[in-house]
């Protein structure tokens, strides 16, 4: 931009200057001509005034007749004014006083001679005395020189004025032309850079102002159309955004679907129960890892026709365990429990016998029992996509059921014994021989009484067990002395011990041990242990009870041990001693009463008192049971 201006500026400046110079040149020429023209007149008047002045100057000294001074004066003026060729003073009776420059005058002396009378004014007499005449002769050349000097002076003045004028003109042009243009250019630059709200502020009412206004109008129009474009852009962008959003929603939905699908597959894969799925043509579609435990499926089998050819209608019933026989890893038996009817599923029961198979597996179980439900797989519209078999593992349920019925049968059997005793007692009393009744009556009845007690005890144990199962085996805790408990327990079994002539040895410990316990339950524990010790000991043996303090992981306990030297417990059976319905084989052989519940209940009681129970034993070498309970420290 600067360059442009530069050129314009100088162009205009140059033109102005040129014009000025020409203008002034012209004027100057004419003026000079005029100066030359009036030269003669000027000279004349110059001469006139000069001679007049001289006359006045000389008059005094002439009056005073100071002729030497006058001469000096005349010389002085003559020498100092180069235009004067000659000065002469004429006075009557006097020799002319003259000055002479020595120059030869080029022009004729006419017109160059000026004279004037020298007068003296006498104030007192009010008289004018004519003293003489002064005459000068001007030298035109010299006068020209003076004039030239004047010309030069004028020239310099004119030049100075030109410059001044040019500058002024320049500034005026700058203001009215350059500035507005510059402003407009700047403004347009701003507009061009995007600010369509910018307006050129040109207050000129001339063409530039008009240009600026038109530019502003154009800017307005631009802005409007830009606005329209922007609006269009905005709506395009909105459309784009919502499209993108739709796309991203779709993506999200797709991802979610994938996730769901993966989740479903994960669930299926992690399902413990085997699942087998076939499609509507009877081809294998899907099986989960759990299936592979029992079936010889591999990924190669996917797509393989599993079921025998049959009606499409009967695919579900063809999809039976019979059809899957060839894939089974182990020998098995199965049974159809429920035929598939309309809307109902086929149910089969499968028993797998691991013990009889050649394939050794990791199962410790001998058997597994499954309930298998076969159902159709449909889509949301009810169209059948395939069929699914789910194997529900009933083994544990069945074994629990089995244990329950075992328990009931054991309990029932155990009840039968005592009940038989009462029955036969009563029978004897009712139907016995008269003679014998008298002697044996009390015996029979008290036997019946004892046996009845046993039944009550058994029923109590059953109730305890059921309460433990339900979690209702609540304790009421109190501070009790261990010594008191042991004493009480020993006392309660003293009759039993006496019968077998068994001696129970125990000693009061140095320290008094107090525990927080449910007295009734804790009594039960020690009674039970002692009863067992007696039951499984041989006659005339000894049972030792020891009470001692024990410290474990920063807590204090009392440890009570009950040691017998009876039949002991075989190593294989030791793990199950505390379990619910267990009675060791050797104990059962003894046919001593026992529901198998005692130790289960005992363990439960001990553990709910934050205690521990364990034992050491060998077959026929007796058993020592240990109980550890936390004590209350003073």
């Amino acid at each position: 931009m600067k360059e442009i201006f530069y050129q314009l500026r100088f162009k205009i400046l140059f033109l102005i200057v040129l014009e000025m110079v020409l203008f002034f040149g012209l004027i100057f020429y004419f003026l000079v001509q005029k100066i030359d023209k009036i030269n003669d007149e000027q000279m004349k008047s110059y001469g006139d005034s000069l001679v007049r002045n001289l006359a006045e100057v000389f008059s005094e000294n002439l009056f005073l007749k100071d002729y030497s001074v006058l001469q000096t004066e005349v010389n002085f003026f003559g020498e100092n004014n180069p235009a004067i060729d000659k000065i002469s003073i004429h006075s009557e009776g006097l020799a002319d006083i003259e000055y002479f420059s020595g120059r030869l005058s080029e022009k004729s002396a006419d017109g160059l001679l000026f004279s004037y009378p020298i007068i003296h004014y006498e104030k007192s007499a009010q008289k004018i005395i004519n003293l003489g005449t002064v005459e000068i002769r001007l030298s035109p050349n010299e006068y020209q020189t003076i004039l030239n000097k004047e010309k030069v002076r004028f020239f310099y003045l004119a030049l100075f004025l030109i410059f001044i004028f040019s500058f002024v003109l320049y500034f005026l042009i700058r203001r009215s032309l350059f500035s507005p243009v510059l402003t407009m250019a700047k403004g347009m630059r701003i507009i061009a850079s995007g600010d369509l709200n910018h307006r050129l502020e040109i207050k000129n009412k001339d063409e530039l102002g008009f240009l600026a206004r038109e530019i502003n109008k154009m800017t307005d129009a631009l802005r409007e159309s830009q606005q329209i474009i922007e609006n269009k852009n905005r709506s395009i962008r909105k459309a784009e955004e919502s499209l993108l959003k739709n796309v991203s929603d779709l993506e999200i939905a797709k991802t979610k679907l994938e996730e769901e699908r993966n989740k479903t597959f994960s669930i299926l894969a992690n399902l413990i129960d085997p699942v087998i799925v076939i499609n509507e043509n009877g081809e294998l579609m899907l099986f989960n890892p759990a299936t592979v435990k029992f079936f010889n499926f591999s990924t190669k089998d996917i797509g393989r026709k599993i079921i025998k050819e049959g009606n499409q209608k009967n695919i579900m019933s063809s999809f039976s365990l019979d059809a899957l026989k060839k894939f089974f890893k182990y020998p098995f038996n199965f049974e159809l429990k429920k035929e598939g009817e309309k809307n109902l599923n086929v149910v089969e029961e499968l028993t797998i016998d691991f013990s009889k198979s050649e394939n050794k597996n990791n199962n410790t179980e001998e058997q597994a029992i499954f309930k298998i439900i076969t159902s159709p797989v449909t889509d949301v519209n009810g169209k059948i996509l395939g069929y699914m078999k789910i194997f529900y593992d009933l083994t544990r349920e069945k074994s629990v059921d089995r244990m329950k019925s075992e328990f009931i049968s054991i309990a029932a059997h155990q009840l039968r014994g005592p009940l038989t005793g009462i029955k036969w007692s009563l029978f004897s009393v009712i139907n016995g021989e008269i003679e014998k009744i008298g002697e044996n009556l009390r015996g029979y009845l008290s036997r019946a009484y004892d046996v009845n007690e046993k039944i009550i005890r058994l029923v109590d144990e059953l109730l305890d067990v059921s309460r433990i199962e339900e979690g209702r085996f609540i304790q009421s805790l109190a501070e009790v002395s261990v010594w008191d408990i042991i004493k009480e327990a020993v006392f309660s079994v003293s009759a039993l011990a006496e019968k077998k002539k068994i001696e129970i040895k125990f000693k009061k410990p140095k320290n008094e041990f107090k525990i927080k316990a449910d007295l009734e339950k804790i009594n039960l524990v020690f009674q039970n242990l002692l009863e067992n010790a007696i039951k499984y000991s041989f006659e005339r043996s000894q049972i030792f009870i020891e009470i001692m303090e024990r410290r474990e992981s920063a807590e204090d306990f009392v440890q009570i041990s009950v040691a017998d030297s009876g039949i002991g417990i075989k190593k294989e059976e030791q793990p199950k001693i505390f379990s619910k319905f267990f009675r060791a084989k050797n104990a059962r052989r003894l046919h001593t009463e026992g529901s198998g519940l005692g130790l289960f209940i005992v363990k439960n009681i001990v553990e709910s008192h934050r205690g521990k129970i364990w034992f050491e034993s060998d077959e026929n070498k007796g058993a020592t049971f240990f109980i550890q309970l936390p004590i209350i420290k003073k």
Partner: protein, 125 residues
């Protein structure tokens, strides 16, 4: 000559009552408390009928029965045996009869008088 009945039962009380009742029907009685003794007494004593409990020490009733039914001596082998037990499921009865027992009696369902009557009826046939 009265018949000899061997009573195999480890519960003394029940044994006594049973014995008295059998005796009152005019039979002679002998007793065994465990499987080994029972076997010995059957082989040596050759009773005319055995009342055999199942849950007894050492050999249990079924084992005794099996052993008897496997003996060489025909007479002993064919000794009549009534199982006297409180195991009372159907399959126990079937099992016992399959093993060669002549009858299966559930103690809780029967009284000593009825046992003696059954013995008597058996000998009548």
């Amino acid at each position: 000559m009265s018949k000899k009945i061997l009573i195999v039962e480890d519960d003394q009380f029940l044994r006594d009552i049973c014995r008295e009742k059998i005796k009152s029907f005019g039979y002679e009685t002998d007793e065994a408390l465990d499987g080994e003794t029972a076997l010995k007494k059957i082989i040596e004593g050759k009773p005319d009928l055995v009342l055999l409990d199942i849950v007894i020490p050492q050999l249990d009733g079924f084992e005794v029965l099996k052993k008897i039914r496997a003996l060489e001596d025909e007479k002993v082998r064919r000794t009549p045996v009534f199982i006297l037990s409180n195991l009372g499921q159907d399959n126990d009865k079937k099992r016992a009869l399959d093993m060669g027992a002549d009858d299966y009696l559930v103690k809780a369902h029967i009284n000593p008088g009825e046992i003696a009557k059954k013995v008597m009826e058996y000998f009548k046939n």
